[in-house]
């Protein structure tokens, strides 16, 4: 048969040539430059896998006495106001079980608490703590973190990363779907307002 008489050398060279040709067609052998993380403007909706976040502003405030969210002495509250909309088919928990931030994360900020999860997530409308967001119903919320008073002040620049997860499949051991770990999918840049004692709520 024909293949009995084909020298191995020719075969190897031939295959290598085909592979190199293919990679040339597909862009070459250089490393791919990582896609830069997009910057999201205030008021611009950021559509994640399950949650669309439209952040509006960031502010510092002494506390929310009506809602019972008051920081310890010497601390203040960093608030990021955003409208969130659940775009999946099931209710979505905003406060994650692992205890770390899973929607947005202020960068280079030393939080008073151990974890980076918000101290509270409050609904603007009635000040109640929102743990679950319903599909298709946009809610204006305030993500609240407790920080030391000297950590930030009005007029500071603040970068807030927007986090997202990708869907991996149905979970078999526990109830629900499986998602990847959080990754930074976008970022916002704010100038912090200082609301003092404010009557925001």
């Amino acid at each position: 048969m024909l293949y009995d008489r084909l020298p191995t050398k020719w075969l190897i060279t031939g295959i290598s040539a085909v592979l190199l040709g293919l990679s040339a067609v597909l862009g070459g052998l250089d490393d791919v430059a990582p896609t830069p993380i997009p910057r999201v403007e205030a008021g611009q909706p950021f559509a994640g896998e399950r949650l669309t976040v439209t952040a509006e502003r960031a502010a510092l405030i002494d506390g929310f006495p009506e809602q019972g969210v008051m920081p310890a002495d010497g601390n203040r509250l960093l608030v990021v106001v955003a409208t969130v909309e659940n775009t999946s088919n099931d209710p979505l928990r905003l406060a994650t079980l692992t205890g770390d931030a899973d929607t947005m994360l202020p960068v280079d900020v030393d939080f008073a608490a151990e974890s980076s999860a918000p101290t509270a997530v409050l609904v603007f409308d009635d000040g109640s703590t929102v743990s679950t967001v319903q599909p298709g119903v946009p809610v204006e919320v305030a993500f609240v973190w407790e920080v030391a008073a000297h950590e930030l002040s009005g007029g500071d620049e603040l970068r807030v990363d927007l986090l997202d997860r990708t869907y991996q499949g149905e979970a078999t051991v526990y109830f629900g779907d499986r998602f990847s770990d959080d990754f930074v999918a976008g970022y916002l840049a704010f100038t912090i307002d200082d609301l003092g004692a404010g009557s925001d709520g």
């Binding site: 088919n89 609904v123 409308d125 009635d126 109640s128 319903q134 599909p135 298709g136 809610v139 109830f175």
Partner: protein
């Protein structure tokens, strides 16, 4: 090579193989998937009548839709959608030791909505139950208006279970026709009551 002779044994072997493959295919196809094996055990009932599962008993009294709700504890919450308020009486049965109403959902087509905890103690969502003693009160769901008036809303279902993971236990399913309900401007809800009615 010699021509192989047609042998009835060979035909029978071939036919036997085909039959086994078909049976294997049928078995593989009808084996329950993980989701089916672990599915909640649905107990269907109607509005207004008691629906009894293994560990939960509930009677849905009324369903209303409104743009704003005022709860008995003074909470008045707004929403970008509408509120679907379900007045229901729920009782835990067999399970003792701190059962809670952990799963209260409204399903419209492919989408599920969970009962809101924003009203606090003005609703019975996630309320701690005592075995044998019912809690009667409202459950409030936030839904987008276009979902409430969509065709699928005519076959909406209210789903109730004790555990927040409803798998492999009773799930009460009560069909509700949301499309047939008028959207009120504002409604008030009753105070949740603990005890027999």
């Amino acid at each position: 090579m010699t021509r192989t002779t047609m042998n009835w044994r060979h035909v029978a072997n071939g036919a036997g193989l085909v039959v086994i493959l078909v049976i294997a295919g049928l078995v593989a196809h009808s084996t329950p998937s993980i989701a089916e094996k672990q599915a909640p055990i649905a107990v269907r009932g109607e509005l207004g009548e008691p629906v009894a599962g293994r560990n939960i008993l509930a009677t849905v009294d009324a369903v209303r839709v409104a743009r704003s709700v005022e709860a008995s504890n003074g909470w008045a919450g707004g929403t970008a959608g509408v509120w679907v308020v379900v007045d229901v009486s729920v009782e835990a049965r067999v399970d003792g030791l701190d059962p809670t109403l952990g799963y209260a959902r409204l399903r419209v087509g492919e989408t599920t909505f969970s009962a809101s905890t924003r009203p606090g103690d003005g609703s019975i969502a996630e309320r701690g139950m005592t075995v044998g003693i019912a809690w009667t009160g409202p459950l409030m769901f936030e839904l987008p208006l276009d979902v409430v008036s969509s065709p699928a809303a005519a076959n909406a279902e209210l789903q109730l279970a004790l555990d927040s993971d409803p798998r492999v236990d009773s799930l009460l399913v009560i069909p509700v026709d949301l499309r047939a309900l008028d959207v009120d401007e504002s409604i008030e809800t009753d105070r949740p009551v603990w005890g027999a009615r």
